[in-house]
Symmetry: C2
């Protein structure tokens, strides 16, 4: 194929982004070349900056450009609650809701025998240590309702049992705006079991 090798290299790299395949990577690259001044060069520069400046928060694992992230640096968020999430995308999802006023602990994944991810890969020892250091009263496990997520939640619950901290997890049930006819059986069973008096 008679393409400049820089273009081929860019297509190969773009095709490795989630949500883009070879065809959409080609389309994206042509779009970038057409919008050189307003998109391609700003994107190159912003990626370079992010690559140089962004790293994990030393306390919670959130991404930040400072030593500790904005949430960990905010004294107003030191309310004795830690919300444990799998990754930064989940932290962002929680923050979009705006309902949680405490701090986070980003595991960076879930336990997985298949991918040989153990507790030491997941900032779980850090979490135990934080509970003592920060005087935490409640740990909310906001892990995904998948097999790996729930396995990880169980493991963390066992690890924290002797710290005496209060443990909770997100409620399971019918999503807001959800229609029963479109929900899976597991969700309906869970919502029924956890039914509340009116």
């Amino acid at each position: 194929m008679s393409r400049p090798h820089e273009i081929d290299a860019l297509i190969d790299l773009m095709a490795r982004l989630p949500g883009l395949g070879p065809r959409s990577a080609r389309r994206a690259v042509l779009h970038l070349v057409r919008k050189r001044a307003v998109l391609l060069l700003p994107l190159a520069e912003t990626m370079r900056k992010v690559g140089e400046a962004v790293h994990d928060c030393a306390v919670c694992g959130n991404i930040t450009t400072a030593d500790t992230c904005e949430i960990c640096a905010d004294p107003a968020r030191s309310n004795g609650e830690i919300c444990v999430v799998e990754d930064v995308a989940d932290l962002w999802a929680m923050e979009r809701g705006g309902a949680f006023g405490g701090r986070y602990h980003v595991l960076g994944g879930t336990l997985s025998a298949l991918d040989s991810v153990g507790p030491e890969d997941l900032r779980i020892p850090d979490l135990v240590e934080r509970i003592g250091r920060e005087g935490i009263s409640e740990v909310i496990l906001a892990l995904n309702a998948t097999v790996d997520g729930q396995t990880t939640a169980h493991y963390i619950a066992e690890e924290l049992a002797e710290t005496g901290v209060r443990l909770s997890s997100l409620a399971q049930g019918v999503p807001i705006g959800g229609e029963l006819d479109y929900l899976d059986d597991g969700t309906i069973s869970a919502a029924l079991k956890a039914r509340r008096g009116l």
Copy 2:
């Protein structure tokens, strides 16, 4: 939202790529941050290189890092045929097929009264000039089978009428592997009108 502003800037830019929305841009950016060394920094560097090195071929409008693109620079492809395409994506599609041995002329779009795109925006004067200069015998109009594509093809045909060059367009009909039941009526009619003796 408590995100570093570099991350927000990167999400905004990524969301402007075709095929990515705000949600998939967030996912892509987190993926980039996680794969800093193998994806984020190489991508930044490759984008910078492409932005600096890649420009339009002075002859045909293909993208290239040299003065003229590889196809225009290849004497073996000077066979008197020019294939006219809308944009570089179409040139790539033709090259993937590998069935065409001549050179290209990339219009950079189609005539469009709505978007006020006129002939002078589309390298059509360049095309007329090339036909004389390069001693072209046949011009193949490989424009998309859309209203704008076909309007542009008609306009070019009129412009080239007095040059005496042979004009052709891609055949229309049933795609290879196509099932009649899934084809639109227009394609079936076109295929029937253009039927060939066995």
